[in-house]
Amino acid sequence: MSAAPQAPAPGPLLKVENLEAGYGAINVLHRLSLYVDPGEIVTIIGANGAGKSTTLNTVCGVVKTRAGRIHFDGRLLTGTPAHDVVRLGLAQSPEGRKIFPRLTVRENLEMGAFTRRDPEGVREDIQKSYQMFPILEKRQAQPGGLLSGGEQQMLAIARALMSRPKLLLLDEPSLGLAPQIVVQIFDIIKELNQKQGMSVLLVEQNARMALKVAHRGYVLETGRITVTDNAAALLHDPRIREAYLGE
């Protein structure tokens, strides 16, 4: 490598300020602000319908921003169409996985690298995905729709990583999965962060698991951030314990 090591961009990797977004006549997000620093795992916890997925989808450009600003990696992201966002280094593993059911596992991974023009690098990254998720290599020629829920979640994460993102957005990776599989998925998220320095914005209903892997957390209630703190502090906050940890 001839280039000098790049200095990290000053300030947070993702900065969301006073975001408003919604569907039709309804505003789902109300002046929502949050940030993710490089190398951080940040989680948004909250009940069903609080606006967690809407937050991620607005950052990705799938849902239109009505007011407020989103900065990513030092540039203004607001208004960027969804298909351009991934080129800037943001990738999402969406709620419900959204695997392409009639593409093979390998083709799903290739779709994740759709914006890349380095076939060699893509092939290498597919091999890396197989190292991270050996089950995907065994299933590589099968249609994605035939995978189990846990396998589909692994594929969704691997597919998102194929674009070599700077920030990985994970929407409910634990949804509908057996407890051991959930533990496995969260181990992988932790490993991605610790070994590869991947920054992660994680949306979860499973607050306990999310707060265990995250550095910081936000609590989202009906479109508003009500509490934010270090993940460890949130885990011990009596209000959070009662409302989100079932104690």
């Binding site: 298909h83 351009d84 966002v85 991934v86 419900g96 009639r102 779709m111 759709f114 994605g144 998102a160």
Partner: protein
């Protein structure tokens, strides 16, 4: 078994089968336009048959301009090869452009509207196209110049294969093989498959879904343009209503194969063509339409996903 059926049905069986295959390949080209658009935006583009008709009129007009046909569409015996070449290039471009224009002007503003709105608009576009056809060429059926001769190449066989049959096979089959390879292996083809399976996920992969939709209308239109030229050269007639019936037959083919499914459209087209020609041959020409539409009704009742459709509509 096939032999004994053929013997029982008489020597003309093979001739009907050949005619059915050739007609079916033409239906298949049109059915692909229905099925690809449906696969991406779940719109039954009812104007597609009339786009095919306008493509045939455009080709006829080109034949007249080049001097291969007189004002009544009769072949003049001149510049036949030039005319066929010009038609096969220009008619697909014309139909592709027109299809993309209609999508931008009519369907795109309704993209997030309830599905019924673009559907009714497509029926409206169908009427506009048909009236444009009347304005262009009038209401009488016209000749389409017989630029490809109808010579029997196999006088010693029970089945007569002509230059016209060969032309249809030599144009439609490579086009379909090309389309299959395109959809399988090119970036745009993969983007089309991904968009058909999950448009939101496709966006998240960096696929510009609007561009994919435009490409789909362009390709579907181009296929209709190819079909229009080949149909004209094979049937040697054209008229403003040709798109209505042919379009409905092709639509039935797409539904029979499984709407949204590309191999299904080809299979459905060939089956409908063969059923039509066997039905015409053994039952009578007046039963052609009832037969095809009875098939449509039966599929819609008993197997709405079509023959290959089991794989098309599942959602994760």
């Amino acid at each position: 078994m096939f032999e004994s059926i053929a013997t029982a049905l008489g020597p003309e069986f093979y001739q009907y089968l050949l005619a059915g295959l050739v007609t079916g390949l033409l239906y298949a080209l049109i059915a692909l336009g229905y099925t690809m658009v449906y696969g991406i935006i779940e719109l039954i583009n009812f104007a597609h048959g009339d786009l095919f008709m306008l493509g045939a009129f455009f080709a006829l007009q080109l034949g007249i301009w080049v001097g291969a046909a007189d004002a009544k569409g009769q072949a003049t015996g001149q510049s036949a090869i030039l005319a066929v070449a010009v038609m096969l290039v220009a008619a697909p471009v014309f139909c592709a452009s027109l299809n993309v224009f209609v999508d931008r002007a009519v369907y795109k503003p309704l993209r997030t509207a309830p599905k019924l709105a673009p559907l009714v608009s497509a029926i409206g576009v169908s009427f506009i196209f048909m009236n444009a056809g009347v304005f262009w060429m009038g209401t009488y059926d016209l000749n389409f110049p017989a630029l490809v001769p109808n010579t029997n190449l196999t006088p010693d066989w029970t089945v007569a294969i002509t230059y016209q049959h060969l032309m249809v096979l030599l144009v439609t089959i490579p086009v379909m093989v090309g389309l299959t390879l395109f959809v399988r292996y090119t970036a745009l083809g993969k983007a089309m498959r991904a968009t058909a399976q999950n448009p939101t996920a496709a966006q998240l992969m960096g696929i510009n879904v609007d561009r994919v939709i435009t490409a789909t209308f362009a390709i579907g239109g181009a296929l209709a343009g190819v079909a229009a030229v080949v149909y004209g050269l094979y049937v040697n007639s054209a008229g403003y209503q040709m798109g209505f019936q042919t379009g409905l037959f092709a639509f039935t083919a797409a539904v029979l194969g499984g709407i949204g499914n590309i191999p299904g459209a080809v299979l459905g087209g060939i089956l409908i063509g063969i059923i039509e020609k066997l039905g015409t041959g053994y039952v009578g020409d007046q039963w052609r339409q009832p037969l095809i539409f009875a098939i449509l009704i039966v599929i819609l009742i008993f197997r709405p996903n079509g023959i290959l459709g089991a794989r098309t509509r599942e959602k994760v």
